[in-house]
Structure formats: structure tokens, C-alpha cells
């Protein structure tokens, strides 16, 4: 499916990512006992991000998942690990495409998107690495729901 982030156009196999996540959602979310904290949705919801900032936030979030989340999500379950790595591969290709947009200045970052992403990193760094990575992985549907809402 082709997603439009302003001048930046990125094709993404969301259905494939979603089905991979659906297969591991219950298992991964059960490993996250912290109900009172979210990486992506509180205190600021992704759904409040302005249209202009979508590309920049998406670019940073894909970098975040590839660089800080997937690699810290090893489990004792090989089935779960395989699903995680296939999601990670899908993210990697999208990360590259968004990176090209970013380098070609088609993915501008305003102050608000920087603040928003800073908050996400603060939420992430408020936990130990493994808990933060597992919680972020368990919130993948929050990211996908938001991305798919893009016009």
C-alpha cells in the first residue's frame, strides 16, 4: 500500500506487518505488566500529530523501532523471535525509504515533531531497556493504527 506523507511517498506492507503482530500480540503484551505508562500514546497521543509533522515523526519512529526496539526483544520462544525478525525486516525497508525522503528534504521536522519524539524517547528511557523494548513492541498496533489513518 502506498502512503503519502506530504511529498514523501512510501510503499509499506502494512497487512503483512499487522498479521505478524497479531500473531505475537497477546504473548508480547502479557510480558508488559505496566498498565500506567505508554511509550507512544501518553501523555501525548500520536493522533494529535499535525499533518505536516507526520513524515518526520514516522521517519523517527521507524528509526526508533529498528535501532532501539527489535534488537532488545529476544524471547525464549523461537516462533515469537521469527515473527519479530520478519516485522523488523519490513520496518528496515520502510526505514530506508523514509530515510531517502529525509535526505531529500521531503520530510521536514518542525519543533512540534521534535518535542513529540523527545517525549517518546523519554518514555522509553524511563524503563530498563528490555521492558522498554517489549512495551514498545506491544504498542505496534498503536503505531499501525495511526499510520493507516493517514489520508
Amino acid at each position: 500500500k502506498l502512503f503519502h506523507f506530504g511529498p514523501c511517498r512510501v510503499s509499506m506492507s502494512v497487512t503483512e506487518i499487522r498479521s505478524g503482530f497479531t500473531a505475537i500480540k497477546a504473548n508480547i503484551q502479557a510480558r508488559d505488566p505496566i498498565r500506567t505508562l505508554s511509550i507512544l500514546s501518553h501523555p501525548h497521543s500520536l493522533h494529535k500529530v499535525k499533518l505536516l509533522d507526520r513524515c518526520c515523526i514516522t521517519h523517527h519512529l521507524f528509526n526508533f523501532y529498528v535501532d532501539k526496539v527489535f534488537k532488545h526483544c529476544k524471547t525464549e520462544d523461537s516462533y515469537i523471535n521469527r515473527k519479530i525478525s520478519s516485522i523488523a525486516n519490513s520496518f528496515l525497508s520502510v526505514k530506508r525509504k523514509l530515510g531517502q525522503c529525509y535526505e531529500q528534504n521531503k520530510c521536514l521536522c518542525g519543533q512540534e515533531s521534535k518535542e513529540k519524539f523527545k517525549q517518546i524517547l523519554a518514555n522509553y528511557e524511563g524503563l530498563n531497556v528490555t521492558s522498554a523494548a517489549i512495551k514498545s513492541l506491544g504498542e505496534l498496533d498503536i503505531l499501525l493504527d495511526w499510520i493507516e489513518k493517514s489520508p
Binding site: L37, S41, E148
Partner: protein
């Protein structure tokens, strides 16, 4: 809350049952308990720090609680929890898994209406509405919630038993080049590609094409 130690077995299978985003919490009574068990319910928005009690589901003896109102923002995700009481004893709180109204709801079949000419039938499809608090509240079609929503339509020639399948995004389908004076039966299903959701098929609506003049 004053309960020192809870030895009653926990409520079982605490889960949301959701249709068109009418989100109802369900559970089973604790094992080995007969009549007389009472329950209370609380819920929380994922990522927000507090549990909120549901007054209408306090000291109830039924094993369900409608939380549609409290979980109507489908940009949020939720947990709910139930506690049981019997003869002065209590159970621990028992929680649901994380509930995402957008991906965890079931969708009803579409409404279907048909009309015919001599050689064609027209099929009109309507997606169900999202649950709403009251009849006066503005209706929201699930088409607005799921912009990628499609309809799978089956058309059966009752005489030849030949069946066609169509997948359409808009809500009108005209099937041309049919036989005059023949009965055709139509059934339709909703399909959302992502997040992957589909309804059951609607019941069949049959109509005859007009006879040749």
C-alpha cells in the same frame, strides 16, 4: 480497600466481547461457587495511571458489564478488571488482556437492498454504524472508521445455480447482462484489509428480473 486477604477463587475468562464497537465485558463465575456471588468492575485507559470504578456494575450478580461508553474512543486501548464477593470473602482482581477497540471488534454484515430491471439487478450496500450512546447522537458509519472497508458480494442465479463474486469499495453494484424473468439471490460480507476484519455474510435477498416485453 479494606480487604486484607482474598481467598475466594477468581472470576474466570474475563474478556471483552465487541460488536460494531459496542464493548461489553464478560466473565465466568469463580470455580465451585454457586449462586450469590456479587461482582464489581473497574477499567483503565492503557498508559494512564488510574483504575476507574464502574458504579453501574458494583455489587452485581450478572456476569457482564457494558463498558461501551467508557471505551468509545477507539484511539485508546483499555484494560478492565473484575472482583468477586461471596459470604464476606473476596477474590483478587482479574484483568482482561489489552483491548484495542479498532482491531478487536467484530463487524455485523452489511445491510443489502436490491432492485431489478429486465436484464440487470442493482445492489445497494450499507455498512453498520458504530455503537453510539443514544439514538440522538450523530451516527458514525464503520466506513468512516475503516476507510479501506470493502464489500464481498455473491450473486446466485437460482435457475442455473451459477454464482458470481464481486469485491467492491463503493456501496452500489449493478450486475448487467442477466436473463429476464429469472430469480437472483444476493448476499454480502464486509471485508477490511487492514486491520484485517470481516463480517459474516448477510442473509440472502432474492429478486426476479422483469420478464421480456
Amino acid at each position: 480497600s479494606g480487604e486484607l486477604y482474598c481467598s475466594l477463587p477468581n472470576p474466570r475468562n474475563v474478556h471483552f466481547e465487541s460488536v460494531n464497537m459496542k464493548n461489553v465485558l464478560h466473565w465466568s463465575a469463580p470455580e465451585g461457587t454457586g449462586d450469590g456471588v456479587l461482582y464489581k468492575v473497574k477499567y483503565s485507559v492503557y498508559g494512564v495511571g488510574k483504575w476507574i470504578r464502574k458504579p453501574e456494575c458494583r455489587n452485581i450478580n450478572r456476569t457482564w458489564c457494558d463498558l461501551s461508553n467508557e471505551t468509545s474512543d477507539y484511539e485508546e486501548q483499555y484494560y478492565a478488571s473484575v472482583k468477586a464477593f461471596l459470604n464476606g470473602m473476596c477474590s483478587d482482581w482479574t484483568e482482561t488482556t489489552r483491548f484495542n477497540p479498532l482491531t478487536d471488534t467484530k463487524i455485523d454484515p452489511p445491510m443489502v437492498s436490491v432492485s431489478s430491471t429486465e436484464k440487470s439487478i442493482s445492489i445497494f450496500l450499507t455498512a453498520p454504524e458504530k455503537w453510539k450512546r443514544s439514538p440522538e447522537e450523530e451516527s458514525v458509519s464503520l466506513l468512516q472508521v475503516y476507510p479501506g472497508l470493502q464489500y464481498n458480494v455473491s450473486v446466485l442465479n437460482k435457475k442455473t445455480k451459477k454464482r458470481w463474486w464481486f469485491s467492491v469499495s463503493n456501496n452500489t453494484l449493478v450486475v448487467p447482462w442477466l436473463e429476464p424473468g429469472t430469480t437472483y439471490c444476493v448476499s454480502a460480507q464486509i471485508h477490511v484489509p487492514t486491520p484485517l476484519l470481516h463480517s459474516g455474510f448477510s442473509k440472502e435477498y432474492c429478486i426476479a428480473t422483469l420478464k421480456d416485453k
